[in-house]
Symmetry: C2
């Protein structure tokens, strides 16, 4: 299955066996007080800077979330999506649980954007899928329903099947549904990662859809999060995940390394190029900070 996204001028295909697609997560005020304050004051330049920086570090797609309490999110997403789409060529992913915000973001986005996200709850499916279909967008479906995140891999696959079936009924193409099997921290449930990896394998086998995974929830509340996030991402890519909403600065090297290890990068040329580019960026950014 091949999910094609389009930005202003760039096209990105997400597919099993292809190089892994990085969806930059940094335009998100959750846990980023500086960005939240900037959005509230209407200063959107820092969001544009984050867009440019993430693309430089290897993001193939950019996630845009403007969820700040008290903010006019409909107006903000419209403005920010236009500004980002002017600054970078890559496809955009509109990230909100509010249908009006999604609609505004999708209307402002060029090409064929992605929606983050719908889940298997009836209310959500009814509210979000028509918006995705009307815009001709692709959508990320989270495997959770009215009962929360199912405990077993089988139940998560069932939630994915529900999202897929409802999407097709709505008119969305099968290949435009990307499933995110969700992962919780292993700090509170030692089997959390194992079950998610098992779900990835089952989804790959049975549905053949593209699979998204965030790589940082898995280590929430634990020390040395990079070691956990990197190892988890490598395992997830090996299991069949095809894209991740993640931080290209922190996890880009692991992703390009995983592609190279799985035979998707002839003579590791892409890995080497990523290393050279980011070494330059690292030096430039360090210089900018100290000067």
């Amino acid at each position: 299955m091949r999910t094609v996204l389009r930005g202003r001028s760039q096209e990105v295909a997400i597919a099993a066996g292809s190089t892994f697609v990085i969806i930059g997560e940094k335009i998100n005020p959750t846990g980023n007080k500086k960005l939240a304050a900037a959005l509230k004051s209407g200063q959107l330049d820092s969001a544009v800077d984050l867009a440019v920086r993430q693309v430089a570090w290897g993001a193939d797609v950019l996630d845009i979330n403007v969820g700040v309490p008290g903010l006019d999110e409909v107006q903000t997403i419209d403005r920010i999506v236009r500004m980002v789409a002017e600054a970078v060529d890559v496809p955009l992913c509109i990230d909100s649980g509010d249908p009006r915000v999604l609609e505004a973001g999708l209307a402002a986005a060029p090409g064929k954007p992605l929606v983050n996200s719908v889940n298997a709850e009836e209310k959500q499916l009814e509210a979000i899928l028509p918006i995705v279909n009307n815009r001709g967008a692709a959508v990320i479906g989270l495997t959770l329903d009215e009962g929360g995140i199912p405990k077993t891999a089988e139940e998560r696959v069932a939630a994915a099947e529900k999202i897929l079936n409802r999407s097709i009924q709505e008119g969305i193409a099968e290949e435009d549904v990307i499933i995110d099997p969700l992962v919780l921290t292993i700090g509170s449930d030692s089997n959390a990662a194992r079950i998610t990896l098992e779900t990835v394998g089952l989804l790959r086998e049975r549905l053949g859809l593209n699979i998204n995974l965030g790589a940082s929830n898995v280590s929430f509340g634990l020390p040395d999060r990079p070691s956990l996030n990197q190892a988890f991402l490598a395992m997830a890519i090996q299991s069949g995940a095809t894209c991740s909403i993640t931080d290209p600065v922190k996890l880009g090297a692991t992703i390009r390394a995983s592609d190279a290890l799985l035979g998707r990068d002839l003579f590791a040329t892409r890995f080497i190029k990523h290393y050279r580019t980011t070494e330059n960026l690292r030096q430039k950014e360090a210089g900018a900070t100290t000067s």
Copy 2:
């Protein structure tokens, strides 16, 4: 299958589903000029320091190699094994291609040591297996034969089967044979890692033996080797590898993270303990360097 090794007082079991076993690789003069010079001059203290340091950083077993051109390796391995066995409790792994060096090292080692290594060449099997059996040791079998390292996973499994059958004929217990499916750098063959990971999966499925993998050959000649080595090790552990001859200082965190992610570390307590211990060591070692 459960391979039990014993040191002076410590017992280590290598088994699928258990926590991954780290065999510290640092007592090896290959590529370590300082250690090579020390061994040549008969100064073995630095080897003992490396033993103590690796155990502190989480090594469960220690590999000992004294291969320096011109050195009396038989005499050196005897001395060094005795000194290391006095300094640390963990099982030892005697690393040589020379049967006389193996014999001397095994005779000096306490408990039940490991031999690194035999391969599927007739000459090797005949020379090494009787030594392993006489000492009641365990052995690592490399999947290479007279034709070199086979290109396909199936051929490597066949080489493993040959080693296993010959070992059993010789009187060695099945569970005391650990297979190393070998990995070459992806810098010269983009499928090198993929085929090794596939071999790990087949070995696990068909033979159920313990599987050892070095994690650093995979990145030879490439930049940013840590990203490649870490991702490869995480994938190998997920595929079924159960031990690695590796650097606990560089790769211990990835290994403890992989165990935690695969549900082998309740509440990540072992991972957290490893983090705390190594953070202390890092600070101490940095202090020792600057003072």
